[in-house]
């Protein structure tokens, strides 16, 4: 077994571990936000491990270096897109009204959102022609 194979395997093992962690997190965490916290991170890292690991492993196993660039591309793509997807999802979850876990201690977003709404309401009122006030945006 070549060194490349060993390094590759180690990486794959590492990645697989986080894959499993990711799925466990998905099951165990109490609300969607916390599930995302755990699952996304470990799935992303796991992917890096598994995918790049395969690229390196292939050097020893198949004898080709051409796996590396392609696995890298895939890994980078996941690295870039997974957090975006997670962000989009968590935002969507929040905006579609999924409540925070009852154990959550703070919701800053809600506070800001409601104050912003109040600002909007005031703006609307001020816009009414009788007041004749020009709002400065």
């Amino acid at each position: 077994m070549s060194i490349a194979s060993i390094i590759g395997q180690v990486l794959v093992l590492f990645g697989t571990f986080f894959y499993v962690v990711s799925s466990l997190g998905l099951i165990r965490m109490p609300d969607v936000y916390n599930r995302m916290q755990t699952a996304t991170k470990s799935a992303t890292l796991g992917s890096l491990g598994v995918i790049i690991g395969v690229g390196i492993w292939a050097i020893g196993e198949v004898g080709s270096y051409s796996w590396i660039p392609k696995t890298l591309i895939i890994a980078v793509f996941l690295l870039l897109t997974n957090p975006i997807a997670a962000h989009a999802l968590i935002r969507a979850a929040y905006k579609s009204g999924v409540p925070l876990w009852e154990g959550s201690i703070v919701d800053r977003y809600k506070e800001v959102e409601s104050s912003l709404e109040r600002v909007e309401e005031i703006k609307e009122k001020l816009k009414e022609p009788s007041l004749g006030v020009e709002m400065n945006e």
Binding site: V21, M29, Y33, Q37, K41, W67, G103, V106
Partner: protein
């Protein structure tokens, strides 16, 4: 900060695309390179306006250097984050203390903000929930400080020093 010239932006886009093509094909076959060049030129022409604002300016050596340095830093942070996750997931009591906090950033560039948001998402106990202007709203699995300043100190600051150089 204004936009770079169209030529610069276009060339930058084509260059990036071509590099990616080379990665994709993993081959130095002349035919692949030819087609790759053609495709990069075409797709670059179609997309450079949305793809980049600064064009070749991105390739400034200092930025490149910081970007390269950022990789191990970030990877380390990420591994730590995941060990943290593993701990929380596998611990029978699920030690969590979640909440949504607000942070402020000094970054102004959109790409920088994206990088920051992604970095936050992938590192310990945090996910970017929304970005409004320079305010980040972050779901934090283990809230240690509820104030804007305190949260920023914990969450955004560590990355900003790199990202500021790379993207600003």
């Amino acid at each position: 900060m204004g936009e770079a010239s169209k030529v610069s932006r276009y060339l930058y886009t084509v260059l990036i695309l071509f590099i990616i093509w080379m990665f994709l094909t993993s081959s130095f076959d002349s035919q692949e390179i030819t087609i790759g060049a053609v495709f990069s030129l075409i797709i670059g022409a179609l997309t450079y306006e949305v793809f980049t604002e600064r064009g070749l300016e991105n390739l400034n050596p200092k930025r490149m250097a910081y970007a390269i340095a950022y990789i191990p830093y970030f990877l380390w942070a990420m591994i730590m984050a995941n060990l943290d996750v593993a701990y929380r997931v596998l611990h029978p009591k699920r030690p969590i203390n979640p909440g949504i906090v607000e942070c402020k950033t000094i970054l102004t560039n959109n790409t920088g903000k994206l990088a920051l948001a992604n970095s936050i998402t992938l590192t310990p106990g945090t996910i970017t929930l929304d970005v409004k202007g320079d305010h980040y709203f972050i779901h934090w699995i283990d809230v240690k400080d509820k104030s804007i300043e305190g949260a920023s100190e914990h969450i955004t600051k560590p990355f900003e020093k790199f990202l500021k150089v790379i993207f600003e």
